[in-house]
């Protein structure tokens, strides 16, 4: 049996080892992913992002507990991928998200994996998407993806997740307008955690007015604008198809209003309400065909990323280190501009 087959059989040690291979971008990891890819695509991927200390890990802990013991229906198997930053100097990392997730210990329906960002800047690691696919194929029905503490630019999570939670806390952002504009755009649900802290009203007010400013009343996102950044899925569908989808879903279903939820992750307050909103969003995605759209856009983005990586490697194999260093020397002496350097290295091989 291959490692991937063992994973599909539910063997946890094989799963852990496959995740390592994927993370290390080894040949064995790629092979396992090739096998597992077809079995993935079933899970609900929930992204959790926000500034350091907002309570992302504690919130994931509570949400996972909720899905393991839902008030109604069957418990869901929960996977958690928690990313923490790698040191830019040594490449080392301290991955501490498990500290807040001890409630989940001993539950075979939960699998937690910590990852270091390993130099990626978008809030995730390069291999996070592969790790998520493997957990998905292994039968985890809900997968939380917790980003590194994020401020403005770490919007990669919105590519990967179906539902993105942006977690804020009172007191972290008096200059909330300045800090949060970037990350607000990717929120499907805004969470104000630590809602028992002083200043929560001010935070709520700031977030509400931000939502209204970004999208004047009625403050709603149209389906195609749920993610403010540029991925154009319209071109991926035939115009008539997109048209008929819109008719199918009707006006109400075509829109998602980003709700603001208050929680206290340390005692679980508001978590059931938040889980309900997450469920509503997932339902909205499915009914409005947005899920398929996002899935397609996500896979396209991943393909782009891999293409770029492969092209860079192909290029690297054609340029010698000497050529490269000579060009950098000229650049450093300001004899050529960075763009001229690119022209040189790409054309004058």
């Amino acid at each position: 049996m291959t490692l991937a087959e063992n994973v599909l059989q539910g063997d946890r040690l094989s799963l852990a080892r496959v995740l390592t291979q994927i993370e290390n971008e080894s040949e064995a990891g790629y092979q396992a992913l090739n096998e597992l890819f077809r079995r993935a695509g079933q899970a609900h991927l929930i992204g959790v992002t926000g500034p350091p200390g907002a309570g992302k890990s504690s919130l994931v802990n509570q949400l996972a507990r909720y899905y393991r013991q839902p008030p109604q229906g069957a418990p869901k198997k929960v996977g958690i991928v928690a990313v923490d930053p790698s040191s830019p100097f040594t490449g080392g990392a301290i991955l501490g998200d498990r500290v807040r997730m001890r409630d989940l210990a001993g539950d075979p329906g939960v699998f937690i994996r910590s990852m270091a960002s390993r130099g990626s800047l978008g809030g995730l690691a390069a291999a996070t998407s592969g790790i998520v696919q493997a957990l998905d194929a292994a039968g985890f029905e809900v997968i939380f993806i917790e980003t590194v503490g994020a401020g403005q630019a770490e919007v990669e999570i919105a590519h990967l997740a179906h539902t993105t939670l942006v977690v804020e806390a009172p007191g972290l952002g008096d200059e909330i307008q300045a800090i949060k504009a970037g990350i607000l755009e990717i929120a499907d649900i805004l969470v104000v955690n630590k809602a028992d802290r002083p200043g929560v009203e001010a935070t709520l007010r700031a977030l509400r007015s931000m939502l209204q400013l970004a999208h004047p009343s009625p403050h709603v996102f149209s389906a195609n604008l749920v993610h403010g950044f540029a991925y154009d899925t319209a071109g991926l569908f035939e115009a008539s198809e997109a048209e008929s989808e819109r008719e199918l879903t009707g006006t109400n279903n075509g829109l998602w209003i980003t709700p603001i939820q208050q929680t206290i992750a340390t005692d679980g307050s508001g978590v059931a309400d938040l889980a309900r909103e997450i469920g509503k969003h997932y339902q909205f995605l499915r009914e409005s065909h947005e899920l398929k759209r996002r899935e397609r856009a996500r896979l396209a983005a991943e393909l782009d990323f891999l293409l770029r990586e492969r092209l860079v490697r192909h290029w690297q194999s054609q340029v010698t280190e000497l050529q490269y260093n000579q060009t950098v020397d000229e650049l450093a002496r300001r004899e050529i501009s960075p763009r001229q350097a690119v022209d040189r290295l790409i054309h004058d091989e």
């Binding site: 080894s26 080392g92 001993g106």
Partner: protein, 135 residues
């Protein structure tokens, strides 16, 4: 393009609440370029073995100052083995009486580091033990 990193679980089993040593070692290993999964205080042997499995670590560092090392360490080693992780290197830091050290080494602990151990030595030991088996 293999990007293998040494992954180490640093855990504190038992009931004592002194985690300064664990944090110092975690930080030193981080600065040596390793990835440290830090699980915090009051971990049961079962929790530690479970974390070691899910995180597929190369080594487990246990910080024990409670005196319960002769119970905790063999239990954790047995659980790791039961999970198929007999290759994971286990080391212990903390207050360990000299006469217990040989017994710990006998049951499979690979390093015992008392107060005053240099972090360089721990780093070196982990590298030496882990690297030959990494692909």
């Amino acid at each position: 393009m293999d990007k293998k990193k040494i992954r180490v679980l640093i855990a504190k089993p038992g009931l004592d609440g002194h985690d300064r040593g664990a944090k110092v070692v975690a930080r030193a290993l981080r600065d040596a370029g390793m990835e440290i999964i830090y699980t915090g205080l009051r971990q049961t042997p079962e929790m530690i073995a479970e974390s070691a499995l899910q995180e597929d670590v190369d080594a487990v560092g246990l910080s024990i100052l409670s005196g319960a090392h002769m119970v905790l360490a063999p239990r954790i080693l047995a659980l790791l083995k039961a999970n198929g992780q007999e290759n994971v290197k286990v080391f212990i830091g903390g207050i360990i009486p000299d006469e217990d050290v040989p017994r710990l080494l006998e049951c499979g602990v690979l390093g015992v580091y008392g107060p005053g151990t240099s972090t360089e030595r721990i780093i070196e030991d982990i590298r030496r033990l882990v690297e030959p088996q990494s692909v």
